[in-house]
Symmetry: D2
């Protein structure tokens, strides 16, 4: 039985094989980061998915052993009244990577494609305009040389249910529970519809969506990192016995 | 004879008829500003043109009697090394008007269409990508509800020559003279070519260019203000005896 | 009779002798600024005084012909809820001059010594703590090498009454009238008491107060500039026939 | 034998008793944070100590289960050229806690008391002025209601030597090694002298220094958290069987 006072999911973490594999991939990420820094490249990774899909944990493992001077995680709060009246992309664009930098978006402008419509925080016209404008915005960023990776962490409905219940039980994580989390199960189907509309409108040639199957957290994290490693051609890639190709059962292209 | 110690062009300013007309138009601008503030609208006016075309003076007269809490003038400095590696539009987009605000761009992203190419501060590929991207960016801003006014202050070659010489003679303005000013006359024709390419690529339906003939400063200022007043439909417009229609000899659409 | 549509107090401005003298002093200010820039010095000028005492006009004339890259005017808005909970000095200290820079505070931390107590925006304990802390803060800034000038623009009661009425009459300035302005005459004596307590607590050896008698606007501006010019020893000081010593009838030390 | 690919010090972390005790204290920290948020209090904890004394790990454990919206860690980079010319405290004061917030300084203004003098990054006059000014600055912050906790993590010379060598061996942490780390052992005695001068000048009544003996990392973290918990009187303090009093062998007052 899991000790209720252990930090969230600690038991699951205390897995030596997983940790060794993670450390090997984090060493690769350090080479990737050094290449980005030295060449003045820009890498933007968008983490999206339903509540409890594992975005936060994936971001943590991807970034925890990087040099913090050249990586930033951006998790924007609810827009202020002033921000709500600005061009929708404005506050996100402010956080784009500087040359030499990796930026991780913990949720992103895609809030307007799925979460906001589900909760009626935006109008249908705003959602539609977003789906059109985002294709142009992302195309321009890619034309400008930004390496853009869009990851969608997918989970099954019962996995989400279990994880949200675990949050309720864990006193160290209870503050994390928002009313939106609580409504996630009830809104499952609406969420699915908006997600599919999003994939079909925004999985463009220059900025495709990548799905990371997240039912098994540790696999999702490792394979997600493998995908990111494959998107930049850094020197010194690989180590003996280390698989770099993502598992096609876990990482796949959205269509 | 003009006293060399008088503030720059003061004699020209001490013209009672002009000042009364200007004050009347500034009262209209106050009504326009109050409407923008009350309705949460956003107005962005881009001031472009050759050196000494009168952009700065026009901005000063347009803004000097507005409530400073709801109007901002943005004159960006040379980009830093970091900014040079960012998406070109990023630092400009950061300054877009908040709801209820008027923003005046003293020079703008159009630096990349004319000034930068003339002085080879950007590559031909960068200029071309800019001419394509700016149309999309401006279209998205207009779709989002920003009122976008693009003013080009035009002057003749000999007028520019005269004004630049006056700057040299005026000790209060001498610091204003940059090496770029000094090269303006020599680069007149290159400037003209890039300007024409800019008009033809970026005078779109949603964001047309307006030319303000600026050889006579005071006329250019008054007619430029009239044009801006015509772009927003504010309540209480006009006063007895006050012409609001811009003079078509001074203000015209670029083609 | 003054045309009601003329910009505020324009008639008064159209005074050739005044303008020539002002231009001469502005040339000196340019030399001062260049010295500050070249040596990496820091100059902070605090402008304080009752409503309509002439602070804004003095700031405008002092700064209008300086190189805007190296001078900033800071007029902080009402503190936000968050700022109200911060250390009182925090948001002001954020605006201190960088090396090479002149900063003009249009009102300052001294709000807490006079305006806030008059309108009961702060408690008596907050006012007292401010009067103690400000002496330490200013001493530390001066020890650190900042040149600190504290100007108090003083006017008589009837002059204030007249100027506030002129604001009501001038449609271009009517937005400037705040409820605080409207209460200025009624609170004249309370204001006086707090002002005197402020002088006696904060006119320290390292950061004395200078009074600028402001009943005659143009004199106050010219003599105020003279005082600032006297606080930094810049090269090339002075021009033939130009008085640099402030008139002791206008500029005097507070005690 | 420790797998060289395991994340830094992972073996040491995989200690169930320690993790349960840590989780219990983190639950207390959540109550403390909620009290600070609800009451609009401000808590500033300064983490200081030699290289490899365990500041970073202590900060991580203190903050990892708090609500990230109301806690910030500030680790300032080397000052820019402009910042070097500003008042020394300016950039630190910018990061003070807002009402309702906990701020953790990972190194602090005390750089000027020890690290900068050791490496001659500041003059002796600057160090002395700092030692005087910091007492006034901290007194003012405490008067203003900020709860200020100053923790000094102390280690023995041979412990530091070992930890720095472990960093060299760990490829995931090698980027962390700066030239300053490499010189830490050679400068041990100079460091000691400046540290003692700092304690004697700045362990004031209103802002005393607390020493946390850090040779055993896990103990230092747990006892350091206990000390912080004792500095704010939050409701619901404690749980059955949980010791909250810090071990006086580990946490002691500097004199």
């Amino acid at each position: 039985m899991v000790d209720p006072l252990l930090p969230f999911e600690l038991e699951e973490e205390l897995d030596r094989d997983y940790l060794v594999e993670l450390a090997q991939l984090q060493l690769e990420l350090l080479k990737l980061q050094e290449h980005i820094r030295a060449q003045g490249l820009r890498l933007l990774v968008i983490f999206e998915g339903r509540d409890a899909a594992g975005k936060g944990g994936a971001i943590l493992r991807l970034s925890q052993n990087l040099n913090p001077r050249h990586v930033r995680t951006i998790a924007l709060a609810k827009p202020t009244a002033i921000e709500q009246g600005q061009w929708y992309f404005q506050r996100y664009l402010h956080g784009l990577p500087d040359p030499g930098e990796i930026v991780l978006f913990d949720r992103s402008w895609y809030n307007r494609a799925v979460v906001e419509p589900v909760f009626e925080f935006c109008s249908e016209a705003q959602r539609k305009r977003f789906l059109e404008q985002v294709v142009d915005v992302e195309r321009m960023l890619v034309e400008d040389g930004i390496v853009l990776v869009k990851l969608w962490f997918s989970i099954d409905r019962d996995v989400q249910a279990e994880r949200l219940e675990a949050r309720v039980r864990n006193p160290l994580r209870r503050w994390k529970l928002s009313p939106i989390d609580r409504a996630a199960q009830a809104n499952w189907d609406a969420f699915t519809r908006y997600k599919e509309a999003m994939f079909s409108a925004t999985s463009s040639e220059s900025a495709p969506w990548t799905i990371v199957r997240g039912n098994v957290k540790k696999r999702a994290r490792l394979e997600g990192i493998r995908h990111v490693l494959g998107r930049v051609d850094y020197p010194g890639r690989g180590a003996e016995g280390l698989r770099l190709e993502p598992d096609p059962e876990v990482v796949l292209r959205a269509t």
